[in-house]
């Protein structure tokens, strides 16, 4: 059996759903985008003063039409992420403005070079099934900050991508980029490479842009990931169960808009809920209650049979220290045991305000351990031990057995050099390298072993063409983070 963690019993789950469907009618949900409002109105919702009152039947029809699973594909066209069932994948946290400088241990504004480094490290770590558009680069005009980070990830990576848009015009430009990468809009629909996070504003508000985002993505056939994020005690009910109700109502209403725009379009029941810290006024992403919220929200999505997402493996610490390791490891384990399809947040510090390459490689070790745990204990041999004892007797020489050699690789996870299991031995006086030092070394090694993504000449030309178009609109000279731009552009 695979271990499975659920926090809600059926009775509580039923109460959550009853109240969530009730909220959809009263007080209803704010819907800013006129097209989304029109879709709801036409389908039978009451829309008054920008607030949609959505009947349960309408919402349930939408929940029925949403696909139970879909895949994200890598550049070679292979299935690389399975959104569905209890499959678990991880990707780095996204949209961070700062990065921790490993030399000074202080955060600084991220630049394109930092994002390229992060993409390279993520590309080399199998624990990350997908890239994210992890950093917003300060050396790129903010008007195209979302677009440009996707451009860099497409350029440097072959993995699927978790991304998101900051505005309507750039959303379209980002979809154009993905079409250019896939070759055509039909190819993109058939084998999507990216999923877009779409965030309602708590409580119960699908803003003009967020609702437009849902409609546009659904019609383009690009998967959307609902990121409802109630702050329990501030922008959501203080009780965990109450905030799960709000999360469900926000997610169901978003999903309804999305499915009305294009029934059957791929969508993920995701989220980034957190508790509100009553002392600091912050949103502690490393708090155990935040992880509990994530798990409970995902359980509701699983009840509907939908693909799921959560924001875990992040820490509130400002340094890559024991607090960061403790918070991130715990939530990696919890998320894996809950069978959440995509878990974002690795690498992030300071309540999502700062990224760290060193934390990203350390988190990868926690993720690998969590993935091992989630695989559970299996009976791999005809007899569990008798057959092996019949060979060794009381001599106990199991290391020489064929079974040992045949099975140890699937029984044991082998960590990288981040994890030090070697006995100190005689070197009591020798200064040792701590985890952070080893992580710095591992980052260097991963980056030096990175091979650039193989893009066809046509793909490069198409991507560069769109990048040139968008950057010229904001007066950005050159394409930071991209080499050999001029010859390829023919300029």
């Amino acid at each position: 059996m695979k271990p499975k963690l659920e926090l809600l019993d059926r009775a509580l789950l039923d109460r959550i759903l009853r109240e969530a469907f009730t909220l959809l009618m009263e007080p209803g949900v704010k819907v800013g985008d006129p097209e989304a409002a029109r879709l709801l109105l036409r389908a039978g919702a009451r829309v008054e003063d920008g607030v949609a009152h959505i009947p349960e039947l309408l919402a349930r029809r939408a929940l029925e039409s949403a696909p139970r699973e879909f895949f994200l594909y890598d550049r070679a066209g292979h299935k690389a992420v399975h959104y569905g069932g209890d499959d678990v994948h991880f990707d780095p946290g996204s949209s961070c403005l700062k990065i921790l400088d490993a030399d000074t241990l202080r955060p600084r504004l991220a630049q394109t070079a930092d994002l390229v480094a992060l993409i390279q490290v993520t590309e080399m770590l199998p624990q990350y099934a997908a890239q994210s558009t992890a950093l917003v680069c300060s050396d790129v005009p903010s008007e195209i900050g979302d677009f440009y980070r996707l451009f860099l990830v497409l350029w440097h990576s072959s993995k699927p991508i978790v991304t998101g848009a900051f505005s309507g015009p750039t959303l379209q430009a980002m979809i154009d980029l993905l079409i250019a990468d896939s070759g055509s809009s039909a190819a993109l629909k058939e084998k999507p490479r990216a999923v877009f996070d779409v965030c309602p504003s708590p409580p119960l508000n699908w803003t003009d842009f967020a609702a437009y985002n849902l409609v546009t993505l659904a019609r383009a056939g690009v998967p959307a990931e609902l990121i409802s994020m109630p702050l329990a005690g501030a922008t959501g009910p203080v009780t965990l169960a109450g905030s799960v109700v709000q999360h469900a109502a926000e997610s169901i209403s978003g999903l309804t808009i999305h499915q009305l725009a294009e029934p059957g379009a791929p969508i993920v029941w995701g989220g980034a809920p957190a508790i509100f810290d009553m002392s600091s006024g912050g949103a502690p992403m490393g708090a155990i209650e935040t992880a509990m919220l994530d798990l409970a929200c995902a359980q509701v999505g699983k009840y509907f049979g939908l693909p799921t997402h959560a924001y875990l493996v992040a820490s509130d610490s400002k340094l890559v220290d024991p607090q960061a390791a403790m918070e991130s490891s715990m939530s990696a384990v919890l998320g894996a045991l809950a069978g959440i399809n995509m878990i974002s947040g690795a690498g992030m510090l300071d309540s999502l305000a700062c990224h760290s390459l060193e934390k990203l490689v350390i988190d990868a070790e926690a993720i690998a351990s969590a993935q091992r745990l989630a695989r559970g204990i299996e009976a791999r041999t005809e007899t569990l031990a008798l057959g092996m004892f019949s060979q060794t007797g009381l001599h106990g020489d199991f290391l020489k057995l064929k079974e040992t050699r045949a099975l140890f690789r699937c029984e044991q996870h082998f960590p990288s050099t981040i994890i030090d299991r070697i006995s100190r031995g005689e070197n009591d006086d020798e200064a040792l390298h701590d985890t952070f030092s080893r992580a710095r070394q591992r980052v260097r090694e991963l980056r030096s072993s990175y091979s650039p993504a193989v893009l066809s000449a046509e793909t490069r030309t198409r991507l560069l063409g769109i990048a040139a178009r968008e950057t010229s609109l904001v007066g950005l000279a050159g394409l930071p983070g991209i080499e050999q731009t001029a010859p390829l552009l023919g300029i």
Partner: protein, 226 residues
């Protein structure tokens, strides 16, 4: 010797396939191929590769054990025949290995032996639970350059001191070097009991013994065992 056979020999060790290694050794024998060539350019380089991959964490202890079994299978065929031909391969050094009296753990010691063999050493493995005097008498009989004493337990580790005393009683010190190893053993312990060196793992033990052999070659002739 055709390169394809040498390559198959290397691969049989890397794969940890004793049956293949044995069959290839017999092929060398029945076809009157150069047996030293088979060892030095076939099986031994395979073991070197295994050692390298072990150090790089791409192969692990069970792989190493399987490779050791394959190596042993090949050598059991080749060595008696080489002896008959009077063409024993050049020996990097002669080592007597064993685990101290009262200690029945042999994995680490066996690994050291396998790696030493791969690096051209002649190894006399006395096994586990070896009385101290047995180390000394064997060292004398075979003209050992080095005695390697393993112990896994803190209780049996003290037996390493007894082995040194036994060698001293036989008058074999300092011409026979003594290397100690095992989980509880430290460099400090090695110094305390008057050993010549300590290897923290199998690979380190081989490096150490090679280095001791170089030092030993500089000793005056009358201080050398042979």
């Amino acid at each position: 010797m055709p390169e394809s056979i040498l390559e198959a020999m290397r691969q049989s060790i890397i794969d940890g396939a004793p049956e293949s290694a044995l069959a290839l050794a017999q092929t060398a024998l029945t076809n009157s191929l150069d047996l030293l060539d088979a060892i030095n350019h076939g099986f031994v380089p395979g073991m070197h590769q295994v050692g390298e991959q072990f150090a790089q964490h791409t192969m692990f202890l069970p792989d190493m054990m399987a490779s050791a079994e394959a190596m042993r299978a090949a050598m059991q065929v080749l060595e008696p025949e080489l002896k008959k031909q009077g063409a024993e391969r050049a020996v990097a050094g002669t080592v007597v290995l064993g685990t101290t009296q009262g200690d029945i753990h042999e994995i680490g010691k066996t690994l050291v032996g396998t790696l030493l063999t791969a690096h051209g050493f002649k190894v006399y493995d006395l096994g586990v639970d070896v009385p101290s005097d047995k180390f000394a008498t064997t060292a004398l009989e075979v003209g050992a350059d080095i005695v390697g004493v393993s112990a896994l337990l803190t209780t049996t580790m003290r037996g390493q001191r007894n082995v040194i005393a036994a060698l001293e009683r036989q008058g074999l010190r300092p011409r026979v070097k003594i290397v100690v190893g095992g989980a509880p053993v430290t460099r400090r312990w090695a110094e305390e009991i008057g050993a010549d060196g300590y290897g923290k793992d199998a690979a380190a033990a081989v490096t150490l013994m090679k280095s001791l052999m170089r030092t030993r070659e500089l000793l005056p002739a009358d201080a050398r065992a042979d």
